[in-house]
């Protein structure tokens, strides 16, 4: 039986990649953020995952408006990064776990979710940056991945309630997977930020604290806000908290907070890092 070893959450701001590339981790601007990863590295060494189920969102690399799925589950043998439009250095490829992907998909459809299945999928900074942060300077990732993309681009977005239920279905899939893998669940993005409009630069530490305070013990509290309310509270891109909520569902019914870091600002974003153990 697979074991779910815990959940790791982090912001995925593109600028983090630049900071890593330049080696800026200990500069005054970046240190408060990167210092939050010392504990992440220790924890990963303790829990030793070999598969990661990653809830993230595409930023217009793999998906366009011609076909934008609400939930898309990767089922490829490998996943590549590609030019996101800025000609930056490409991130390392990822090994997939197609058998586990299909088991997750079978469970989701049996539970009356309607995913798109993606046997080919480019992954962007939303997946790569959390990995660069978690396993710095490795030549190849120590885990295989099952990437799951949630629509945060085209409204209507799935509700927080739906995202949590979706994650819980993924949990049922992991709990029923006969393999011996050690699975870490990852949620990326957020927290509060807004890139567009006259409210650009908006952040909301109060709402972010509410999310961080409730994610472990009462994730349903986060589902009482509609998407519209989450945008109001968290910014247009703050809706990436849907990835955190779904990942929390995938972790399982109960959880305990191991570590938290929160810092404003990284680029335009309120950056957060969180580790949860299953209980």
């Amino acid at each position: 039986m697979a074991e779910i070893v815990g959940a790791y959450f982090t912001s995925h701001v593109p600028a983090i990649g630049g900071a890593i590339h330049r080696g800026d981790q200990q500069t005054p601007y970046w240190k408060p953020f990167f210092d939050g990863f010392v504990r992440v590295h220790e924890w990963l060494a303790e829990v030793k995952p070999d598969v990661a189920v990653v809830f993230n969102n595409d930023h217009g690399l793999n998906f366009f408006l011609d076909c934008l799925p609400t939930f898309a589950v990767g089922a490829a043998a490998e996943y590549h990064n590609a030019d996101e439009g800025w000609g930056l250095p490409l991130y390392k490829p990822f090994a997939g776990h197609p058998d586990l992907s299909w088991h997750v998909i079978e469970t989701l459809v049996a539970d009356e979710f309607d995913p798109a299945t993606c046997q080919k999928m480019l992954v962007d900074h939303a997946l790569s940056i959390p990995f660069e942060l978690a396993w710095p300077e490795v030549d190849a990732w120590p885990v295989k991945i099952v990437p799951i993309a949630i629509n945060t681009v085209q409204h209507p977005l799935p509700s927080a309630k739906r995202a949590l239920a979706f994650g819980r279905s993924v949990h049922r899939a992991l709990a029923s997977w006969p393999g011996a893998e050690r699975v870490v669940v990852i949620g990326t993005g957020g927290l509060s930020h807004q890139l567009d409009g006259a409210r650009a630069g908006f952040m909301n530490p109060e709402y972010d604290r509410f999310c961080l305070d409730h994610l472990a013990n009462d994730p349903d509290a986060l589902t009482h806000h509609s998407i519209h309310e989450i945008v109001r509270l968290s910014g247009t891109q703050g809706v990436e908290v849907l990835n955190w909520i779904a990942a929390r569902g995938a972790l399982g019914p109960t959880a305990r907070e191991v570590h938290r870091n929160y810092h404003i600002p990284i680029s335009n974003t309120a950056a957060a890092t969180l580790l949860l153990d299953p209980v």
Binding site: G60, D83, L195, G201, H228, A270
Partner: protein
């Protein structure tokens, strides 16, 4: 598509819903094409021809010509795609934030930093 009773407008904020998507498709399709470096170069080489190829609306064409981000959003642009266009113009998200909020870039960066001042870490 929003119900203004249930969901009162959020100041300074546009939800990219079906109405926006319908309005913005041509602009967003052009910006999505900028994932390809050859397309970015084609835009730089002949901006008007490239916009014409994607059949931008006059409002979209004007907003692009003016580097007017709020105008692009009003014309249905989605920030995830617009960010690729902004990259061609050499603008990062702080530059774009400054443009949209009528601040200088230094002011916008300070506005971001100020929001972290009250925080105790950990």
């Amino acid at each position: 598509m929003a119900d203004p009773e249930r969901d009162p407008p959020i100041p300074g904020t546009t939800l990219f819903d079906g109405d926006a998507a319908v309005k913005g498709y041509a602009l967003n399709a052009m910006c999505y094409s900028f994932n390809d470096t050859a397309n970015r170069q084609a835009f730089v080489d002949d901006e008007a021809a490239y916009c014409a190829k994607f059949a931008l609306t006059p409002a979209q064409r004007q907003a692009v010509a003016d580097r007017d981000v709020l105008g692009m959003i009003a014309a249905g642009g989605n920030i995830y795609y617009l960010a690729k266009l902004a990259g061609i113009f050499g603008l990062n998200v702080q530059d774009v934030g400054a443009l949209q909020t009528g601040r200088t870039v230094a002011e916008f960066k300070q506005f971001l930093l100020d929001q972290g001042k009250e925080l105790a870490h950990g």
